[in-house]
């Protein structure tokens, strides 16, 4: 892959006439990198993620995904880009009338995968996240943590090139939280670029991955391998995964 997975250049976001949520953000994500996106609540983490899954257009600046300038994309180009991006939404966004298995199967179905393969892959993944006994369960019958695991399984089932997770461990206990992080690392080892947005400092501190820190609407990169050196965001290279 000769291109960067994500490139932000002087990107700002402003909703209507309100204040700027993000101001002149510039950074890049190389293929196979793993980053935490940290910042206090309301710092703009979700908006930054939205820009990366084409849920939002920047007010100014350039956003490129997989080497393509988002501004040059037509509506018809969106599905192909979005299929390369897995998203774990903070509010899960499971489809209420679909079973856990069917929710997880959705990315494969929209991609036209054969039904027999879908059943097998989804069953295996849901078993891996501890939901083997809940394949046919509707989201409303699952606990918050179980719903979150379904959401994560849906985000990773199609082995995306870029995985964006917005507070993925917010509703699970520490054991499950770590297990999910290891799942993200496994995907990262297979080449997926991972961005995990969280305000859980204890979780972040257990890993050596680089951190994209949103502070006062601006972004800084912090590398735990070189503590004390925090710099304005620039090109981010692949980082070595693994718990600290």
């Amino acid at each position: 892959m000769g291109w960067l997975v994500v490139l932000f250049d002087q990107v700002s976001v402003q909703y209507g006439a309100g204040p700027q949520i993000l101001r002149d953000i510039s950074f890049t994500l190389a293929p196979g990198s793993f980053h935490f996106l940290v910042g206090r609540s309301g710092a703009g983490k979700s908006s930054l993620l939205k820009l990366m899954y084409l849920g939002l257009r920047p007010s100014s600046g350039t956003v490129s995904l997989f080497g393509r300038d988002v501004a040059s994309l037509s509506r018809r180009d969106f599905p192909a880009i979005r299929r390369r991006v897995g998203v774990v939404f903070q509010d899960f966004r499971l489809i209420p009338h679909l079973s856990a298995l069917d929710n997880v199967a959705l990315p494969l179905r929209v991609a036209g995968v054969r039904e027999a393969d879908i059943r097998r892959h989804c069953g295996e993944l849901l078993s891996w996240v501890g939901l083997a006994d809940h394949l046919g369960a509707l989201p409303e019958t699952l606990s918050g943590g179980q719903q979150q695991r379904v959401a994560i399984a849906r985000a990773v089932i199609a082995r995306p090139n870029l995985l964006l997770a917005d507070e993925p461990t917010g509703n699970v206990d520490d054991v499950i939280g770590l297990r999910l992080m290891y799942l993200f690392e496994e995907l990262n080892k297979l080449g997926t670029t991972v961005v995990v947005a969280t305000h859980n400092d204890s979780l972040v501190s257990r890993f050596t991955h680089r951190q994209l820190r949103l502070e006062q609407n601006s972004l800084r990169v912090f590398d735990p391998a070189q503590p004390g050196r925090s710099r304005p965001a620039a090109a981010a290279s692949p980082s070595s995964p693994g718990p600290a």
Partner: protein, 312 residues
Amino acid sequence: MLGLRSDLPLDRDAAARFLPWILGFMVYLAALAIGAAMVVDRLADRWQAGLTGNLTIEVPFDPDLGVTEKSIVIDRIVDVLSATPGIAGTTLLDDREIARLLEPWLGVSATELDIPLPALIAVTLRPGVVIDRASLQAGLAAIHPGTTIDDHGAWIDDALAFLRGLNLLAALLTGLVLAATTLTIVFVTRTGLSIHRGVIEIVHLIGATDSYVAQQFQAQALRHGLVGGAFGTLLAAATLLGIDQLLKQSAALAGALPAAQLDGLDLAPGMGLDLRLLPWQWAVLALLPVATAFIAMLTARWTVLRSLARLV
């Protein structure tokens, strides 16, 4: 496409639940209109075929003219007619037949009234032959002044104009039903898009194309079109058969004939009020559910794609 699995719970929408019934009613009206149009077409063909091959010669007589003189005139006219190329045969109508023809206007005792009745000669033409009517008219008038030829042209023209009007009405009704059906599907589809906006957004963010979303709606429209179309067509077929049976019974009562004897005959001689459809016409009606489903599917797809294209 007819699979039951759907990412959107469209069948739970209140508007969509009534769609098969609405479509069924629309198809019922359309099937009746189309069925009526086909009956009218057959009727027009029968009337035209039955009357264009015939002429009626009307010979008015002075009441004081003797029977012998009348007979001589009629014989001479029949001779001229028989010698005219293109005429296959002539039949002099007797008093009983003339009375039957006049019955609608003069009642059952027309022949007993003291009014002069003309002699009527029914002429049968050879198929496809056009006779020189002006020359024949002149020849007959030379034998007996006042003799006229009635080729029923004016009556046929009026009747056909009336039937064409009925056909136009049926086409108009079918068009209105089609427009109402299309608008109903557009409305239901837009309602569905609005209700399921959240789920559609998720499906889009996961990578679904607009076409994938449209497939969900068009599959539902196809199912409802088939169900509603079949229901409406069957009901219309039952209605047409019921009306046909009622007409037969009415005619049988009026003519004191058993209904069974009317099978295969025109209910009223010369009018042909037979509502039965031919096999190919039933086949056309049987295609209505399929056509309805197809139209519903295309309309739903067009509505979804058009609505989603406006989103960004």
